[in-house]
């Protein structure tokens, strides 16, 4: 499996910052990966190389850890990441219809990124805001009590501003 690489300087900066913050030890691996994943949007191959070198952890172990946890991605993600809560409380209050509407509007499947690089659609485990289900998160914005017919309007907020 190949993992994409991005500009070395950006990667180095992100890794440096995370390692400085947490310290270069193996027990800080997950916090470091979390930070780098957040800064870069995913974990590119050269970031994993650099972390492996700094922490003196074999690359095999890094790949093993980064592929295990759901929040880490080894694939580039779109400009906007849409997360859909697929848990039971959201499911029983109309989550299925919202999911269908998301698939319909974004025209991509779960885990996929749109060809124009604008959208990535992923499912997430329970976000613990079940009181207002169904719930979706776009980037860092959380939307509760979502109805299928609101999807178009919610998505439009992100395409219009071009953020």
């Amino acid at each position: 499996m190949t993992i994409a690489t991005i500009d070395g300087k950006v990667v180095l900066e992100a890794v440096n910052k995370a390692v400085e913050e947490h310290g270069a030890t193996i027990d800080e691996l997950i916090p470091i990966l979390n930070d780098v994943n957040r800064t870069l949007g995913y974990l590119p191959a050269n970031a994993l190389d650099e972390i492996s070198r700094r922490l003196r952890v074999p690359k095999s172990q890094l790949f093993s850890v980064s592929s295990f946890y759901r929040m880490f991605s080894t694939k580039p993600r779109g400009k906007h990441v849409v997360q859909f809560c697929e848990s039971a409380p959201c499911h029983v209050v109309g989550g299925r219809q919202v999911w269908a509407s998301l698939l319909d509007h974004l025209k991509i499947g779960p885990g996929e990124t749109s060809p124009d690089g604008n959208w990535t659609l992923i499912t997430t485990s329970c976000l613990g805001v079940c009181g207002v289900g169904p719930v979706i998160i776009i980037d860092d914005d959380i939307y509760g009590n979502v109805a299928p017919d609101q999807i178009a309007e919610i998505l439009a907020r992100y395409s219009e501003t071009g953020e």
Partner: protein, 593 residues
């Protein structure tokens, strides 16, 4: 310390600030001075107490009256009515229904708030608020008046059991860990609350973080640990942030660090964030994750109390378990044991979700019946539909039908009924729920969350899911039910950790209580609840249809035809059963057969 007869808490959340919270605070102070009440009534700032939609909102204690929707000009009136005349200024009182935040409302008569007592009432980012509610008193008592053994005895006498779901006596765990050889020991808080629909722990971490921290320090003292970790899931960024602030403040006050409260006991605490893996809620997987590895469970024994984090003796308890500890020490074991049943003492928080009128967090003494929980505390079924089942114990729990509604909520009763206590998710389902679909749904969850280490769980859940997919897809076969039963039994017996052992429970419990639904799906190729897409079809009632064409225009596959003002028809072969036509029809002319 100065005593006030009343406390006015004004919400200073961004929403309420924009609506003039600071102006209201000032006006209150001025009016109280003018009326000569300033020594009797204290005005304080607090975080969000409601929806902030009619801000600035405020809460008057001890009465617990929630005011909103007033302007600065109304404040003299409220002060006069409430504090001079002693009656509620009804005009601005927010009815309990509207005042609640959507997660945690004022307690209903059958509730007892121990763990949730401070949530929504104090500022979680201000340690003094917690101290004012007798916070850190338990710690002071434990450190200065009790030996570690006495602390363990007190917790043992209280009957506190693990709130993560397994119900193991907490003090026993502590005893084992204390007795383990070694000087380096760890206290770990399992805040990886991954069960879908369960958010009790999140609310405690965000609303009363010091209760958890205090509980952990007391546990560390009892066990003889000097370092602790709170492992919190990454899906809860606010909880992580709140905890970090709280730890910082506790350190500054001398509750954490070297020589706590001037004694020779030292302990410090660190928050560790997960990265999205349900199985990390299993204690051995959790510890692997803290060590920077894949969060995969390992066989027990050795138990963490003997060989845990970095192979040192470790004590892992759930958020709610720790949050109970300070009050047990402060108020005594007898007080705590006064709640609950003979074997299940105290209270339990639950997250009530699904088709129930009042969703959100509740805290009830053990022993209340499921009926009381659903109908008295939860207000009954949404839209007054019929009750079908209640799912307890999260994705590894089971669904219980109406016949079990009078079952008391305690560890033993739920397990005996084929479900379990779990961490506290309660999903109520109305009579339009398909139980086969629900079983399939939970199996999809566990199948995806299986870490893959042991075969029964990795492969077995996949096979179960395939069979359930077939049944829901209208391709069920004779023998499927028997095959499911065999698989369930084997997975339960042979899996490594609680995830695999519990994975079959939703299927086992629905097979036990709703077997006929499986049979109808398989033999009659029909879904009685009209949920499984492959087994239903949409039809337009010709007598009701007005021929408005809305459905035809909205149909994504062009399956609906018909002339304007004439009854329309759905072509069964083209229809993908998305249900949009039914949603858009203004005349309820579309039905599911």
């Amino acid at each position: 310390m100065k005593y006030y007869r009343s406390h006015v808490l004004v919400c200073v959340d961004p929403d309420c600030l924009r609506k003039g919270a600071h102006e209201a605070l000032d006006a209150f102070q001025d009016e109280l001075v003018a009326q000569g009440l300033i020594d009797e009534v204290q005005v304080l700032e607090t975080s969000r107490i409601g929806a902030c939609s009619q801000g600035p909102e405020m809460m008057v204690y001890p009465e617990g009256v929630h005011y909103a929707g007033y302007t600065v000009d109304d404040i003299p009136f409220i002060v006069e009515e409430h504090f001079l005349k002693g009656r509620v200024a009804k005009k601005f009182e927010l009815a309990a229904e509207k005042a609640i935040d959507e997660e945690l409302s004022a307690p209903t008569p059958k509730e007892v708030r121990v763990v949730l007592r401070n949530c929504g009432r104090i500022d979680p980012e201000n340690i003094e608020d917690y101290i004012a509610e007798d916070g850190y008193m338990g710690l002071a008592k434990a450190l200065t008046e009790m030996t570690p053994e006495q602390v363990i005895d007190e917790v043992l006498a209280s009957g506190l059991r693990g709130r993560g779901g397994a119900g193991f006596p907490t003090a026993k765990k502590w005893q084992f860990c204390r007795a383990s050889a070694g000087t380096e020991k760890y206290v770990i808080c399992n805040a990886d609350e991954g069960d879908p629909g369960a958010f009790m722990n999140r609310r405690v971490l965000e609303g009363d973080p010091h209760a958890v921290i205090e509980g952990m320090i007391i546990a560390a003292y009892a066990i003889g640990a000097s370092q602790g970790y709170i492992y919190c899931r990454a899906e809860y960024p606010i909880a992580v942030q709140t905890l970090n602030i709280a730890i910082e403040q506790a350190r500054a006050m001398g509750f954490l660090g070297q020589n706590i409260l001037g004694t020779d006991f030292s302990f410090d605490l660190e928050v560790r964030m997960g990265a999205g893996a349900f199985v990390c809620g299993e204690e051995t997987a959790l510890m692997a994750s803290i060590e920077g590895k894949r969060g995969e469970p390992r066989p027990r024994p050795p138990f963490p109390a003997v060989s845990g984090l970095w192979a040192k003796p470790s004590n892992v308890n759930n958020v709610e378990t720790y949050a109970n500890v300070p009050q047990i020490i402060t108020n005594g074991a007898a007080w705590y044991a006064g709640f609950g049943t003979e074997k299940s003492k105290g209270t339990k928080t639950f997250a009530l979700a699904g088709d129930v009128k009042h969703t959100g967090l509740i805290e009830v003494p053990f022993g209340l019946s499921l009926r009381e929980v659903v109908f008295d505390v939860g207000g009954g079924i949404k839209d007054d539909k019929g009750f079908k089942a209640i799912q307890t114990g999260g994705p590894m729990g089971g669904c219980l039908p109406e016949a079990y509604l009078d079952l008391p909520v305690d560890y033993e009763s739920l397990t005996a009924a084929g479900s379990m206590m779990g961490s506290g998710g309660l999903v109520v389902m109305d009579d339009e729920t398909c139980m086969v679909d629900i079983a399939r749904f939970f199996m999809e969850f566990t199948q995806e969350e299986s870490c893959g280490k042991c075969t029964p769980c990795r492969v077995g859940t996949k096979r179960i899911l395939e069979i359930l997919d077939r049944i829901c897809g209208g391709e069920g076969r004779e023998g499927d039910i028997e095959m499911l039963e065999t698989l369930c039994e084997q997975i339960k017996q042979d899996s490594l950790c609680g995830l695999g052992q519990g994975a079959p429970t939703p299927v086992v419990s629905t097979l036990k209580h709703f077997r006929e639904e499986y049979e109808i799906h398989i033999r009659e190729k029909r879904c009685p609840a009209k949920v499984c897409k492959a087994l239903i079809r949409y039809e337009i009632l010709p007598d009701v249809c007005t021929g408005c064409t809305v459905c035809a225009r909205n149909c994504p596959t062009g399956a609906i035809t018909g002339e304007r003002r004439q009854a329309h028809v759905i072509d069964v072969d083209t229809c993908v059963r998305c249900g949009i036509c039914m949603q858009v029809c203004n005349f309820n002319a579309i039905v599911i057969r």
